[in-house]
Subunit: 282 residues, 2 copies
């Protein structure tokens, strides 16, 4: 086991290993990531290991889901550390392709998902979810796992991927993994590494206000007022701009969920040069 | 065999039958069609039977590839005749879903292919190739065949599908099937049924002018002049409007193919209320 994970760089090698496992009757879970692995990612790996016989991690910082103004160049890349973390977690296979393996010359196809991609992060990051849907479709079809697991931290992304996989009839089960948090409530994120000490101290307010809004709504407060108050609190805490604090249908992400439907509170806000997102059930 | 083809209406039943064949070690060819089967379609079924152990035909008149102004409502539908033709051809399985099986409530995903979708029919039929790419991605992922076969008669469509399947890493081989023609050269098409007797008499000119252009280009004529002459001849023969007569790279469909690259001559023109297309190698 000490040589694990085996690292493959090509779709052909990935398929060969998955096919060999299938031939043995083993089931396979895929956990796509952009690397800079933290405990949140590793909890998805463990979830995969509970659900299936073998886990395949992928690390690919997908350029097509970053807008030109975004942090593609500065996004943390540290494969050696990631490999060590996967080894410690007992993950047997890492697929870490380069950009030309994923997008060879002449690549021309885009998968777009309407409805769940609209609003929230979709409104602020044009093309982001098309980039996500396209690369995830590819990863799912390259590996053809039984299950693929994505963190609920990126809740809208999870719903976009669920919708895309169902709509295109990709024969895979999509599972969400619960958000892992620091002791003070801050959701783990590779982008937390961007925060200064002062910003890091303020950052847990994002989760705290969501918990407060959820409590107020459960106790009968009007959602619109609670959400507006939450945005104001975030600004007082040093966030700005606050992109959104919204209540949505937990599955369709439609605004103003119907009574009896599960809801989801979602927020995105900047803290200095770092954009943080979080969400909780309500 | 007299009960064949077995007709399935749901993705679940389709997958069950294909999985049963796979479990026996059999290979599967998929031949997607919109029905109104003619000898062109049946030649694809025979090609599938030569390449694989089992052939799955699909019949689905896909609404998303028709523009509002187009012939979705009048497109010929005659399943009983199609089933008889498939029976005579020895095809064992027909997948004929209804629209709600393919596009259930909440369906939101679109697959678009840039470059090869642009120009030619793509310029005249907005959204057409997105509709084609999306439904074909679904059919390929529903059946997961070894091979899928599409007629070269719809040459741009074939290139769009090749590009889409390659870009999304769909694990299937895409094969083209040669255009089947009437004795006078007219390419078989379900839409030929729309032609009046007079139009039917004029229709073979479409193929004839392509053959003439190919011969002139092979003998050193300037393509631009030969193509313009061809359009003029079609108008003399009663076609109008002539949408395009163009020379393209046979694979990328880029205009002005580089010397030494295989070329393709493609044309689309109206004859009365019927839009005809054709293409040949050059």
């Amino acid at each position: 086991m000490s040589d694990l994970p085996r690292i493959v760089r090509t779709v052909a090698d990935l398929r060969q290993q998955v096919a060999a496992w299938r031939a043995e009757g083993l089931t396979v879970a895929l956990v796509p990531t952009m690397g800079a692995l933290h405990e949140g990612h590793l909890s998805l790996m463990r979830q995969g290991a509970e659900m299936c016989d073998r886990v395949v991690a992928t690390i690919f910082v997908n350029p097509t889901q970053f807008a030109p103004s975004e942090d593609l160049d500065s996004y943390p890349r540290r494969e050696a550390q990631d490999v060590a973390a996967l080894r410690a977690a007992g993950v047997p296979l890492l697929f870490a392709p380069d950009v030309t393996e994923m997008y060879p010359n002449g690549f021309s196809t885009t998968v777009t998902v309407a409805t769940v991609s609209e609003g929230l992060c979709g409104a602020r990051r044009p093309g982001h979810f098309a980039g996500v849907a396209t690369v995830v479709a590819k990863l799912l079809l390259q590996a053809l796992p039984d299950v693929a697991i994505f963190g609920e931290k990126d809740y809208q992304q999870l719903q976009v991927i669920r919708r895309m996989a169902r709509d295109l009839d990709i024969p895979v089960r999509i599972e969400g993994g619960e958000t892992v948090r620091e002791a003070d409530g801050l959701a783990l994120s590779s982008r937390n590494a961007y925060l200064t000490a002062e910003e890091r101290a303020a950052a847990p307010a994002l989760h705290r206000v969501l918990v407060e809004v959820a409590a107020r709504i459960r106790h009968g407060a009007a959602p619109a007022q609670a959400l507006a108050d939450a945005a104001a609190v975030l600004e007082d805490e040093g966030f700005g701009p606050v992109e959104y604090v919204e209540l949505r249908d937990a599955e369709t992400l439609a605004p103003d969920p119907a009574p009896g439907r599960p809801g989801r509170l979602l927020a995105a806000a900047w803290l200095g040069k770092t954009r943080l997102i979080d969400n909780i059930a309500v």
